[in-house]
Each structure stands twice: as C-alpha cells, then as structure tokens.
Symmetry: C4
Subunit: 232 residues, 4 copies
C-alpha cells in the first residue's frame, strides 16, 4: 500500500477520521454555546475557535483531494459537496446565518463510520421498499391536515376569530392536534368544534398506526434478505 | 381507438387528467387564501378565479359525460356524484358555506392517479380484512371514552364545576386525554381525579397499541397475497 | 324447541336482546343528559325515564331467570351480577352516586352480540398469551413513573415548591409526561429538570413501543391458531 | 441440604425473600410520604421507620454474606453493590440527598423473582439483538433534536427572544415537541416557525415508528428462539 492510500484509509476509517469527527462535534458545541446570551462576553473566544475549526476543515478537504485517486468524483459526491459548502462562507468572507446553517450538514459526516453502514443500509432498503406506500401515506396526511383545518375553521371561526382567523391559521391547530403534540395555544371551544376534534383525533390515531405497520413489515423483509445475503 | 376513446383515456390518465388535477389544487389554494383576513382587499380576484375554476369543472363534467360509453354509470359513481355536487352550488346560484364545503370532496379526485391505485388497493384490502376487529376496537374506544368521562365527572365536578359541568362536557376532557393531545384547557386537580387519570391514560396507551398490531398483521397478509397474485 | 327455549334464544341473540341493548343505550343517554346544567329544568322527565328503564331491567332479569334452565348459574355469572347490581339501588330505594355508577357496568352487556364474540375471543387469547410480559411491562412502567417522580422532585422542588411539593405530587407530572399527554399545568423550569425530562421522555417512547410489539407478535400467533382451528 | 443452603434458598426465592421485598416496598412508601408537606409534623416517625428499615437491610446483607458459599462474588455482583450502596449512607452517618437516592436502586431487587426472570431474559435478548439498530436510532434522534433546535432558534429567536434565547434553550422545545408531550410553555408564533414545526413533527412521528418496528421484529425472532430452546 502506498503512503497515499494509507492516508486515504486513515481519513476514512482510521485515526485521522476520528480526529475529524471530534473536530466536527467540537465545532457544533462551539456553534451551540455561542448563542447562549450569558456567554456573549466571551464572543472573541468563540470566533477564534470557529476560525480554527474552519482551518481544520479546509486542510481536511485539501488532504482528501490530494490522496484520493479520483478527487473530482469525491468533490461531486454527497460528502464532497457538504465539505465544500461548509468551507465556502469562510472562503468568500461572508458569515450570514443562512450560510452558516449550511455547515450544519457536516453533522451527517458523523454517519460515515463503517459500523453504522450496515444498519443504515438496512433502514434505507426498508424505506425504499415502501416508497410508494409512504408517498401515499404522506399524501393522505396532507389531505387530512387540510380537511381538518377547513372543518375547524368552519366550526370555530365565529367563536374565536383571532385564533382561527383563516384556513392557513387553522392549519397550525391541525398540525398540533393530529400529531398529538397539543401545545394548548389554540383549541376548540364550541360544541361542534369539539365533536369534530374528537372525530379527527381518533381517526388520526388510526392513521398514525399505518406507518408503523408499513415499516414493521418492510423491515421484516429487509432483515430476511440481509440474513440470506450474509449467509450466501 | 376512436377519438372519443382517446379523450376518455386522456382525461383519466393522460394530459387532460393532469390539467384537471392542477386546476383542483389551484382551486383549493384559492379557497384557502380567500379566508386570510389581510387578503380581503383582493376579494374580487378570488371570486373571479373561483368562477373560472367552476367553469373548468363544468366543462370537465360535460366532456366526461360526452366521451364515456356509459355516462349515467359515471354520474352515479363516487366521483360522478362529487363532480355534480361541486358544480351544484354555482348552478343554483347559491354560495353558502355548507355548499362550498361540498366542493372540498374534489380533493379525493387527486387519488385517481393509476400509480396510487395499487397502494390504495393494498390498504383497502388490509382494512377490509380486519373490519370486525376495527369495529370492536372503535366500540371499545367509545365505551372507554364514556366511562372516563363519567369517572372524571364524579371526581372533579365538585372541585371544578365550570370545567367538568356535565358528563358531555367531561367527554371533551376524555377525548383530549385518551388521544394524548392534552391541550391543557381542562385537567384534574383533585387527588382522586389524578389517580383516575393515571389509570385511564396508562390503559389508553395499551389500547392504542391494538390498532397498530391489527394493521401490522393484516398488512403482512395483504402483502403476501399481493406478491402471490403478481407472481402468478 | 319449547317456548321457554325460544324466549331464551331471543333474549340472547334475537329480537328481545336487541330491545334490551336499545334500552341500555337510551338509559345511558338519559343518565348523561341528566347531568347537563341547562337541562336541570326537565329533571322530572329524566327521573321518570330512569324509573321506566329500571322496570325494563327488572323485567329482563325476571324473564332471564324464568326461561334459563339453570337460573342460579346465570345469577352468579358476570352478566348476572351486573344485572343484579344495576337493579339493586332502585330496589333498596337508595340513589347515591356510587350505586348509580354500578349501573354503568350494564355497558358491557353491549358486548354480548354473537358477531363480536369471535373478535373478543381473539383479543382475549392474545392478552392471555402475553400475560407475564404485560405484567412485567406494567411493573416496569410503575417503577419508571416512580423514579421519574423522585428525579424531578430532586431537581425542581426548590425552584417550584408549590408544583413539585412532594414525591406523590411529582407523580402527577410523571403520569402526564410519560404518557405524552402534557397538559402543561406542571413542567420543569430548571436546566437539570429539563435535561432529566429529555432523558425520561425519550426512554418512555422506547418503553411505550414494547406493548405494541408484544401485542403484534401475540396477535399474529393467535390469528394463525384461529385459522387452523376453523380449517380443521 | 444444610441449614445454610436452606436459608440461602429462602432468602432468594422463599419466605425470607418475600419479607425483604415487602420491607423494600414499605421503605419506598416511607421515603415517598416523608416528602409530603402536610406530613412534616410526623417527621420523627418517618425517621425512626427509616432507621428500622436500614437495620433490616444491614441484617439482610450480613445473612447473605454468611450463608452464601462465595460471599465476595455476591458482594461484587449487581445486587451486592446495590445492597452495599443502600447501607453505606447510614454506616458513615451521612444523610445527603444524593446518597439517599442511591437507596432507590433497591427497587431493582424487586425484579429478582424467578417468575419474572424468563420474561426479562426475553426482553434482554430482544434488545441485545438490535443493539446496533437502537444505537443508530438514538443517534438519529439526537441529531434530529439538535437540528430542530437550531431550526426553531433561527425562526423564533427574534420574535420570542426570551423563550428561544439560545440553541440549548431551544433544545427544550425540541424535546417537548418531538416526544409529542407539548407542555405548551414554549411554542412557535411566526409563520416560518410553525411551518418548520409541522415538518419536524410529521417527520418525528415517522421516526418514532422505527423503534416499534425494530422491537417487534426482534421480539418475534427472540420468541421463536425461546420456543425452540424449551422444546429441545
């Protein structure tokens, strides 16, 4: 194995890769603590650390491009684009909020560990298997959200014109209710609205049972397939 | 294929069908935005658009009846009735809220796409398979809701006569609690009421597990059946 | 078939049985509406109806005891005891709240319909199959509730001495949180309490997944068994 | 069987073991009621009882060490360490809150009953089977929580600088929302924040479906394995 290959292996699965993962986590911690108001006095420290982390990311990308046999293939791969986007803001000297959010995509690099690859593949195969069912399900949920919003708007608009001011505003209630989060900032007060809510939430529980069932069945198939594959 | 058949195919699965789906979505967007208070100044625009959409729906229905071999069969089918009902209010010149809601049923026409038919058939077969279990389940949930309402009424009526004024009023609490939405507008404050709530919610979680189990099992059977069918 | 047997059959599955079910439902509706404050003026009507329903129940019990071959076996069966208890308050002239609640057990008589028996048997076999798992699960949930209450009490007692006044009081928070109802009347405000809540709720979701899994597996077995039985 | 072995058996599964379990439960009840403010006047009683219970625990540990063939193996086992830790605070005369919490671990001794061992083994085998999946799932949930917190911070920080003051503060919202508890102390009010919440909660429901599916599949396998084992 040439030196170049050794570094390539190390940055993907060896000691260099672990260093990068640690830097990503420290970078995220830095980004997170920077927003705490009581830490505002140490702003200089956070900024300096961020510059340091960015330098590490730049060095990482340069090393990767140098040691890989096909650097351009990497640059246009999923992780290559993430690497590039997370460095970009620093390169062009911009530091807007939107650009900094791009760097958050680095979080997905944490999934590169070979140990997780098998589990991820299983989940991916599972989801791929039921893509048309999930699409239909998402579609049904959207329609249910919309019809719930229209229904509650009809029942509650007159009684609570501020909270259920329009159908889009009622959508917020529909989301909080059908997901059973129920913040309690908006809720029906009329008899009709409450009966409608009872009907919608009970239906909603039944519908929420469907993705669990779909995933359970598909996962069962994916596991069987995986076992066969590893046996053969 | 005659010209008539070509149009019939096109309106069901081809380019004409896509046009109709787009018009339905635009119609719903129009209906939704019309209710936003800050858009009230553009009311004229919304009304004009609605008339435009309705004309498209009328034309669609006429075309369907003209090209189908058995127009009356269509008119009395599920989608035919929806088509008719959504045009009716405009025909008789009425524009009340109730009649306009009828038009919302157009939303179900979005499900006509052939791609979704297989997934829908699977779900339908699944639900049909466990219809007696689901009926029993719905019945158990209704009784649980009722008994919960009676219980909390007994415990909380004296302490909170406004919130738990009657058994029907307590039903609202039972719905919000057993579905785990928990808006927080009504909740027990007495010791007895809270112990009762603990008992009811824990039972409720167990009961909510049942439809997921039923659907999972039935779906597994439906998938096997479907695979056999497509193989043979 | 003798006349006696005919009546016995009719009261169990025939026309007489349906009459009894209808009377039970009317009785429950009467009981429910009686509690609505705005209906208080019609109290006389509700009382009269209740007397009428009770007479039907008494007649029903007498008929059952007269036509059954082994009346005493029925009297000491589950439904016989319910029949007796729901008549008792009227017989001894008492009308306290507790005694009237006994009558609610009549609701379970609605399950006698032969159509539901097969579905109920399936569910019963399923639950019986996993009784030791369910017991363990209930035990784990109780311990989790208790440990959550102790934990939140330690973190929040000083910050919110009124809401988290004692461990039993904190149990109320634990119930509302672990069942994901989240009324919002009590919630942690300290950093420690919130981190603890995050830990407990995420664990709770995992634990709530367990009964669904147990029921799904047991139901799958019960369904297979049922199929075999009906084939042979 | 020698007398020593008889006592060892009795303390593990016989009458002595039951006595210890009862004392543990009484000890927990004592600990719980002691925190109730209205019981503060009886503080002396609670303290005395606690001393009594601790003496029982000390005697139990001494007996165990005396009758077991390999006392040191027990002392360093899971239950031995719990026994020791729960006695420690009394031995060194300290009575701090943290040390007393250690005693709560005694609760796990309730699981020693032989009846529960089989069910526990099943659950343990199930969880062990899917340890890598559960790890991945936990990791995905953590990332989802973090990204949700960052997202809502971006949308809501300006509108509600007090409630969404920093990313760590927004984590609290993310926990309450993704677990669908929804206390209602913090919720988005901007359009962007609400649309983001809709997206996040719907994704969250899908993700919560995954552990149920994993556990269902693994449990199915574990049950099959167990059946084989008990047959052979």
């Amino acid at each position: 194995m040439t030196r170049r290959q050794k570094i390539a292996n190390s940055i993907d699965d060896g000691i260099l890769g672990i260093v990068v993962v640690v830097v990503i986590i420290l970078y995220l911690v830095n980004l997170t603590l920077e927003t705490v108001p009581s830490f505002k006095v140490h702003e200089e420290v956070f900024k300096s650390l961020e510059i340091g982390f960015t330098i590490v990311f730049i060095v990482e990308l340069i090393v990767r491009l140098a040691v890989y046999e096909r650097p351009f293939k990497y640059l246009f791969s999923f992780f290559g684009v993430i690497d590039f986007l997370s460095i970009l803001p620093s390169l062009i000297g911009a530091n807007s909020l939107v650009l900094r959010v791009l760097r958050l995509f680095r979080i997905f690099k944490l999934f590169r560990s070979r140990r997780m690859v098998r589990a991820i593949d299983e989940i991916k195969a599972t989801i791929w298997d039921i893509r048309s069912d999930l699409l239909l399900f998402g579609f049904v949920v959207l329609i249910l959200l919309y019809l719930s919003a229209v229904g509650i708007y009809i029942f509650e608009h007159e009684a609570q014109p501020n909270k259920f001011s329009s159908i889009p505003a009622s959508m917020w209630w529909a989301v909080a209710t059908l997901t059973t989060v129920g913040y309690g900032d908006v809720y029906p007060i009329t008899l009709g609205g409450r009966v409608f809510t009872a009907f919608v939430t009970l239906l909603g529980i039944g519908i929420i049972a469907i993705p669990t069932s779909l995933v359970t069945n598909a996962l069962s198939k994916a596991k069987k397939r995986a076992r066969k594959q590893y046996v053969t």
